[in-house]
Symmetry: C2
Subunit: 284 residues, 2 copies
Amino acid sequence: MAGVVEFKQHPSETLKAGNRFVLADVDPDSTPGYSGNKADGKALLADLDGKLGELQEKLFAESRFGGTKRILLILQAMDTAGKGGIVNHVMATMDPQGVQFKAFKAPTEEEKSYDFLWRIEKEVPAAGMVGVFDRSHYEDVLIHRVHSWATPEELKRRYVAINEFEERLTESGTKIVKVMLYISRDEQKARLLARLDNPAKHWKYSRGDLDERAFWDDYMAAYQAAIDVTNSDIAPWHVVPANKKWFARIAVQQLVLGAFSELKLEWPKADFDVAVEREIVERS
Amino acid sequence: MAGVVEFKQHPSETLKAGNRFVLADVDPDSTPGYSGNKADGKALLADLDGKLGELQEKLFAESRFGGTKRILLILQAMDTAGKGGIVNHVMATMDPQGVQFKAFKAPTEEEKSYDFLWRIEKEVPAAGMVGVFDRSHYEDVLIHRVHSWATPEELKRRYVAINEFEERLTESGTKIVKVMLYISRDEQKARLLARLDNPAKHWKYSRGDLDERAFWDDYMAAYQAAIDVTNSDIAPWHVVPANKKWFARIAVQQLVLGAFSELKLEWPKADFDVAVEREIVERS
């Protein structure tokens, strides 16, 4: 790690939504706890790839010997905030065999006919896996609140259900990492314009994104409300300043590394006599 | 690409099982069409990562505008041949959102109660996706043949069903890439011993692997038979010498790149007026 600029304060501390957390007080341009620049950030990200891969293999290995631990990273954000980049540049460095990735789009008619957690339950990570949710059950208290698709009473019911759901996941061995990628309204505009300026990105552009952009302040209020009531000790929210993509990536990488570290993973001990097996293989 | 050693002959030609293909004639130590060494191979692999990622995004983008193209990489091999390494070092460089990975283990009781293709159908790639099968429907004509779990008549029925299945996939837009990673019996022994010598790899060791190893020649005969009857123009087999892991990786990367290239992908054209949208975004 010689020459690599590391975090001075860990994002699990600096970015954690505290007791009286105010979203509007977060500066989306900031890089809390990190004094390096973009090049430093990229170097740090690359430097820790191997560590992340090894921890993921350990997690997977434990599950093969009865371990029930697993990780679930929940990513929420406004459009263009960089969820895809996190998936592609941070989580994709792990072995795909140990990662369960799920992007939740607008629910289908069938999904709508069930309780909102029905489609989520089906995608929670198996033992030994790292689950990644690109959007999640939080959409049901965000976009649904913004457009009043759910009554205040129903929203309240959902908040409670979410807390119970996450508690249950935790009890079954899941370490939950909740991340909101936080960009500014201006940064979103710049990123939408950049998409329009690059023909290779036109397919990502949709007028629909603008519709939601018009409700920016309502979304921020919905995030604030969701964070207020679903911020728990077992599954705290982390609000990651994301105007600088490179910072968001190293911050989320740190949060995931922190989750692995809390799991205190060990390589499973051999349940066989290595010398005996060596001989059998030699003779085979 | 300056300084990078490229293939002189493309693996889609050199490694394709021809009309009178004889598995035993393949040298698992060889590196057909490639004159570089391990370091050259690693450099080539890294050099083409970006290209693979761009092609995958194009494929995904097309599907968002009604495209039905997709790719299915089928990996078959004896234990320790390096299927996992291919997934981890070649396919994992693509965006996880565009890759559908599936490892087929021993079938469950439920899966056994259906036709052998039932569980396979459920995992075929959606439009725009790159599917990766770590083992596949070929297990049903390999291990089943080796252990006589299926009668010769049933095996014959399955070969026919496989050809029909792959034809149907092709008709619905799937480019199939079938790969057998080919290691020698001695190389497998060396890799099993290496696992035993590394405590971090003990979890991967299983006496069961040795059971199958004892049937080596029967497996080779089963592969030869499967290749003979399921080698088609639409879905030819490629036998990749895999004693050198680095070679197997660049060879499979080339095969996948070749499949992308056959699909002749284009960025979708904007179905909107860029200048108009720019103004709307500017005002938003």
